[in-house]
């Protein structure tokens, strides 16, 4: 009888211990790992911005000039940084690196581009996956995005501005959402789209939350950051002049940013290419 009691006691302690470990795991996944990895992703962007600010644009890979129609896409190394994604609606100065690839180790570092999806600004569909809950949860607040909200993909040569058009919740098997024409797998693409995929609902892998954004325009890097991201960013220390007046028209390189506003609208550029 005494042995039986002792065994029950040990079993109870083991169960309590297991419960505490599960609670610790939840704390780790929703708090600790999100905090540590979210900060790490932000730091990657800050480092990129610093190097880009010094004119070292080679930190981002050379991509085909957007918009393009029939240039073959370059092969990028799996897990390498290929661009920066900026979504002002998700927070002041919100920016994350975009990695090449969608394997778990890559997505643990930050949002990843579906291999073989379109390049930024390219006719077709650029698809990016990102975590909703864990690993710095870059797309935690993705359901806050509304029609018209800008999503800017910063590449070596340009700022590619997309605007949210619509969103859907689908099952994980619906791969049509990343088709060249979203949800029309056999259609021939004539427009440039961006698709973000993440899990839904929060803390559950049962569905996918999908945001579709349509290309608005492509702003060359030399024209400076477009107004969509400029006001919220840390572009250079000279954002506020000594007299306190915001120097909205001048970027870190001293280029008149009005050029950015006057950048070639995509429709016209597409006509020129066609």
């Amino acid at each position: 009888m005494r042995v039986f009691r002792a065994a029950i006691g040990v079993l109870g302690e083991l169960l309590v211990t297991a419960g505490v470990i599960v609670l610790l795991f939840i704390a780790w996944q929703t708090g600790y790992s999100v905090m540590i990895e979210g900060r790490a992703q932000t730091e990657v962007v800050q480092q990129l911005e610093e190097q880009l600010g010094q004119g070292d644009t080679a930190v981002l890979p050379e991509l085909p000039e957007a918009p393009l129609v029939d240039t073959p896409a370059p092969t990028l190394d799996d897990g390498s940084v290929m661009a920066i994604i900026r979504i002002p609606k998700l927070g002041k100065g919100w920016a994350r690196p975009v990695y090449e690839g969608i394997s778990l180790p890559v997505l643990a570092k930050g949002p990843g581009r579906y291999p073989h999806s379109a390049m930024p600004g390219q006719v077709g569909n650029m698809a990016i996956a990102g975590h909703r809950n864990t690993h710095g949860h870059p797309f935690f607040d993705i359901d806050q995005l509304g029609v018209g909200d800008p999503i800017v993909i910063e590449t070596r040569s340009s700022y590619v501005v997309y605007r949210v058009a619509r969103w859907v919740i689908v099952s994980p098997t619906e791969s049509d959402v990343v088709a060249p024409v979203p949800q029309k797998p056999s259609a021939k693409p004539t427009e440039a789209w961006l698709t973000l995929t993440t899990c839904h609902p929060k803390f559950s892998p049962t569905q996918r939350y999908i945001v579709f954004a349509k290309l608005d325009r492509v702003v060359p890097r030399k024209a400076g950051p477009p107004p969509e991201v400029r006001a919220l960013e840390r572009f250079g220390p000279a954002e506020v002049a000594s007299d306190g007046v915001e120097v909205a028209g001048v970027d870190a390189l001293g280029v008149d940013v009005d050029d950015a506003v006057a950048a070639v609208p995509f429709r016209r550029a597409a006509r020129e290419v066609a």
Partner: protein, 63 residues
């Protein structure tokens, strides 16, 4: 199990409580730094992509 641990720990009650806290913290660090990162990929909470064969399905201009 924990009663045996309590008996083994040296010192008076205060010292034993401090030892317990220390051991708990060590366990938490081991879990957070090594165990949980290794276990997380085996659980389904990480799935954020839609199924693709990765075989040029969503190809851009080339399609």
């Amino acid at each position: 199990m924990y009663a045996a641990l309590w008996r083994v720990l040296p010192g008076g009650r205060a010292a034993k409580i401090l030892w317990c806290l220390l051991l708990f913290l060590v366990a938490v660090v081991i879990l957070f730094v090594w165990v949980f990162p290794a276990v997380a990929p085996l659980l389904p909470f990480d799935d954020v992509t839609v199924a693709t064969g990765l075989g040029g399905h969503s190809g851009g201009a080339r399609v």
